[in-house]
């Protein structure tokens, strides 16, 4: 039954771009990018219980890695994606080391500080030659390979979708195996887990690294899709919207990444028409509603509905 | 006999979904002393918590004629019920004197509070010496004295004590029991006492109950339990 759901979802996702405009396709590409990020953040926060309010920073590192490699080194776009992932893995792992000593509110605070400081770091003069300073870097949209009869937007959609499917598969393998159990055990019963031989420090900083890797890959793909990176697009609110995404989708679920991504991609678009402030007002309200009423997120609600339907 | 000060009827109580107490009934007379005895884990602490509304409970509890089974702890306390909790409940970062002030925080009569503070220092001269010391740095025995003094600062009608002799030297235990007797005689403060030292407790109390796995297995005049060989052997171990 689950398998059927997965196959239907993939079929819908593959067929989708042929029924919608290039612009809508671009929006869905962005949504898939967010799904990758949310997957990574959820591994860390949902499964492993390490709160991060600063994943926008890793997203930025991924985006800038891709942009700089293309702009200054002529690296083809597809090769920047794994590169961004690796660079972010390194950053995440390193950040995860001091974070080991922080719990709950303190980790939230440290990562929040990271989110707030990110745009300023990106604007630093000494790096301006590479980062383009306040102006940022413009990226050229890639053409489809082998003369495929696809628009640039559709090609990028499929490219992103393929990466996302790979990453979902990897995450699925991760969480249902030994490592996944260790992650959850460290979240729920840290002392017991350590006593049973789980190397807490290693697992937690590795999960931090993996989470950053996902986010960095998302950042690279996102940069390629919007063809542009600039410091001010990576502020506190980007990090917060990722948190909104995992809460809405459902903490410690994989499918939740999809619902969360659709939410943070499309709800602001709709709400923007009411007022510039509306998307965030809605985000805030939705966060409260989910925490008070449905802490399991959409994924949980859907599984309940599904369970009811089956009787 | 007049109406009892505290009257508990078919009380069920517990933590989370499971009940620890099952249909417990007992009374403390006006100006009387009741003791509840029982083995470790019998539910004595749970019983005192339930009376004070600190945990989920069901049943009837009347205090000074008022139904308190659905009242909040702070309101029950304000009716004049002071509780010396299991583990002393010291405010470790406040000074000893501030701990006493907290005990009297619901009172408005400044003069009376000041006088009672002096009275406590009279009961426990050690506390006067240490009044400005951080309470967390007091010895275990001193903290126990502080807890009792803090409870008395409320000028309660009923004093509820959870193992007041815990961790104290025998000499000090004697003092504390003497003080309980004094406040009971001179101020007609009712006392509900949970105690491991059954012998001392039965000497002090007028009424006693024996609790076993959450149920009252026997109860009556303290003298009766004291003299009953079989009960003494089976439950009280002396």
């Amino acid at each position: 039954m689950r398998m059927a759901g997965v196959i239907v979802t993939i079929a819908v996702l593959v067929a989708l771009p042929f029924f919608i405009s290039d612009y809508r396709t671009f929006q869905f590409t962005q949504a898939i990018v967010y799904a990758i990020v949310l997957l990574g953040l959820n591994l860390l926060t949902g499964y492993n219980g390490q709160i991060s309010l600063g994943h926008g920073a890793f997203y930025a590192v991924g985006a800038y890695t891709a942009a700089i490699l293309m702009e200054h080194f002529g690296v083809p776009y597809w090769a920047t994606v794994p590169a961004a992932g690796l660079v972010c893995f390194g950053f995440g792992f390193l950040f995860g080391l001091p974070a080991l000593r922080l719990h709950g509110h303190y980790l939230a605070l440290a990562t929040f500080a990271l989110a707030v400081a990110t745009p300023q770091v990106l604007k630093v003069k000494h790096l301006e030659a590479w980062t383009g300073g306040v102006q940022g870097i413009v990226i050229i949209k890639p053409d489809p390979p082998f003369g495929l009869p696809l628009s640039q937007d559709r090609w990028l959609y499929f490219f992103t979708l393929a990466v996302a499917m790979l990453l979902f598969l990897a995450a699925w393998n991760l969480v249902r195996g030994r490592a996944g159990r260790a992650m959850v055990a460290l979240r729920d019963h840290p002392i017991a887990a350590e006593a049973m031989g789980v190397n807490g420090a290693m697992v937690k900083s590795t999960v931090f690294g993996i989470s950053a890797l996902y986010t960095g890959i998302g950042g690279a793909l996102g940069a390629i899709a919007v063809q542009f990176v600039a410091p001010d697009s990576f502020g506190t609110f980007l990090s917060i919207s990722f948190v909104v995404g995992i809460v809405v989708g459902g903490l410690a679920t994989l499918s939740g990444a999809i619902w969360g991504a659709l939410f943070i991609q499309f709800v602001p678009n709709v709400a923007d028409q009411i007022s510039k402030a509306a998307p965030w007002a809605i985000y805030g309200a939705v966060l409260l509603v989910f925490i008070y009423v449905a802490p399991g997120g959409v994924a949980y609600l859907l599984s309940r509905v599904w369970g009811k339907l089956r009787g | 006999m007049t109406a009892p000060l505290l009257e508990v009827e078919s009380l069920d109580a517990g933590y989370g979904p499971t009940d620890v107490l099952h249909g417990v009934s007992f009374t403390v007379g006006e100006g009387g002393i009741t003791t509840v005895l029982g083995a470790n884990g019998a539910g004595k602490t749970t019983l005192l918590r339930a009376v004070c509304g600190l945990i989920r409970r069901r049943g009837r509890v009347r205090f000074g004629g008022a139904a308190i089974e659905s009242k909040a702890t702070e309101d029950i306390v304000r009716l004049g019920l002071a509780h010396v909790p299991d583990g002393r409940g010291t405010f470790v970062q406040l000074s000893a004197e501030e701990n006493l002030r907290v005990g009297a925080i619901t009172r408005r009569d400044r003069k009376g509070v000041a006088a009672d503070m002096e009275r406590m220092y009279g009961y426990f001269p050690r506390l006067r010496e240490r009044r400005h010391q951080q309470a967390g740095t007091l010895s275990g025995g001193e903290q126990q004295m502080l807890a009792i003094a803090r409870a008395l600062m409320l000028r309660p009608r009923l004093l509820v004590l959870d193992e007041p002799s815990f961790g104290l030297a025998p000499l000090i235990v004697r003092d504390i029991f003497a003080i309980m007797r004094t406040v009971n005689r001179e101020e007609r403060v009712g006392i509900l006492l949970v105690e491991q030292n059954a012998k001392l407790a039965l000497e002090l109390a007028d009424t006693a109950y024996l609790l076993e796995t959450g149920r009252v297995v026997t109860g009556g005049p303290a003298a009766q339990l004291r003299d009953d060989e079989t009960i003494r052997r089976a439950y009280l171990g002396y």
């Binding site: 926060t45 709160i51 001091p98 922080l102 719990h103 709950g104 509110h105 303190y106 939230a108 605070l109 440290a110 929040f112 500080a113 707030v116 300023q120 604007k123 630093v124 003069k125 840290p190 002392i191 506190t236 609110f237 917060i240 948190v243 903490l251 007022s275 510039k276 402030a277 509306a278 998307p279 965030w280 007002a281 985000y283 805030g284 309200a285 966060l287 409260l288 925490i291 008070y292 802490p295 | 004070c52 600190l54 702070e74 306390v77 002071a82 509780h83 909790p85 409940g89 010291t90 405010f91 470790v92 970062q93 406040l94 501030e98 002030r101 907290v102 005990g103 925080i105 619901t106 409320l154």
Partner: protein, 289 residues
């Protein structure tokens, strides 16, 4: 040398603001062991309320008092309505509720007052004092911070209510057994925090101008200040605030330049958290299992 001295003194002035916000963080931390991520936005929103009152023609100090009082009430209401339901929830839920509060206040301010930057008056504008090291506003800010600290000290030290609040924060169960309404004490803590934040907001607004995002940077310094001083220690937080203010100014002027100042705060926060989690004057271990 003169320039150096000037940097230190004006660092003390901004430090006063960090100190005030750090103090409000400590109020809430002491009561609930939560770090209020929305503290800055609460202060920002309060400052808009003050702006509204001044704009409506009220004299500055009337608006000031009105804002402090109104912020106090709003703080209490926020605790009762928004925070109460998650009092015993896991940390993650609490953090998310704070984040929700942050974005709601931010967008509400943008919605009601628009995102255009507004000027905000300073009450300290007497003539002829411009030639000293400190501007009148800087001097006033330091004075106000010290006054707030003194008032808080007196309140907590010498009033029954202050004692009850301290007791409730330390040992809620024992406090209830003494008849203290602990829930309300927490709400009062929030009220105080909101009121102090409002004062800080009104002091910083003449400098950074009024807009919904005015507090982002300030908050980071305030966090650093609170952590540096020990997040459960009011006096420490104030000292931390002044220290951070001076360090920020000196680092900005002589070391990293203005464009990396926030990174200094980030480094301070992570450094303190990792190497000295109790802060310079903290008493307890911050990480509790």
């Amino acid at each position: 040398m003169e320039a150096f001295l000037h940097q230190i003194l004006s660092g003390l002035a901004t430090g006063g603001i960090y100190a005030a916000i750090a103090l409000s963080l400590v109020m809430i931390y002491q009561a609930t062991h939560h770090i209020n991520f929305a503290q800055g936005e609460m202060a920002m929103f309060s400052t808009y309320l003050a702006w509204m009152m001044i704009d409506a023609g009220l004299p500055y100090w009337v608006a000031f008092a009105g804002t402090v009082a109104l912020s106090f009430v709003l703080g209490v209401l926020i605790e009762r309505i928004v925070i109460r339901p998650v009092e015993h929830a896991p940390v993650l839920s609490v953090v998310i509720v704070f984040i929700a509060l942050l974005v709601i206040l931010n967008s509400l301010a943008g919605w009601i007052f628009s995102y255009t930057i507004k000027t905000f008056p300073s009450p300290f504008t007497w003539e002829g004092s411009q030639n000293g090291y400190l501007s009148p506003h800087e001097l006033g800010t330091i004075g106000v911070t010290l006054l707030v600290l003194a008032a808080l000290f007196l309140f907590f030290r010498f009033t029954s209510l202050g004692l009850a609040m301290r007791a409730a924060a330390q040992n809620p169960v024992s406090s209830r057994l003494a008849g203290i309404r602990v829930g309300w004490m927490l709400a009062l803590g929030w009220g105080l925090a909101a009121a102090i934040g409002a004062i800080a907001g009104m002091m910083i607004a003449p400098v950074v101008y009024l807009d919904p995002n005015m507090m982002a940077g300030v908050m980071l310094y305030a966090f650093a200040a609170a952590l540096l001083g020990g997040i459960d220690n009011p006096l420490g937080a104030v000292v931390g605030g002044f220290v951070v203010g001076v360090v920020e100014n000196l680092a900005g002027a002589y070391v990293v330049g203005t464009e990396l100042k926030l990174t200094v705060a980030l480094a301070l926060i992570i450094g303190v958290l990792v190497f000295r989690p109790t802060g310079l004057f903290g008493r307890r271990y911050v990480t509790r299992v």
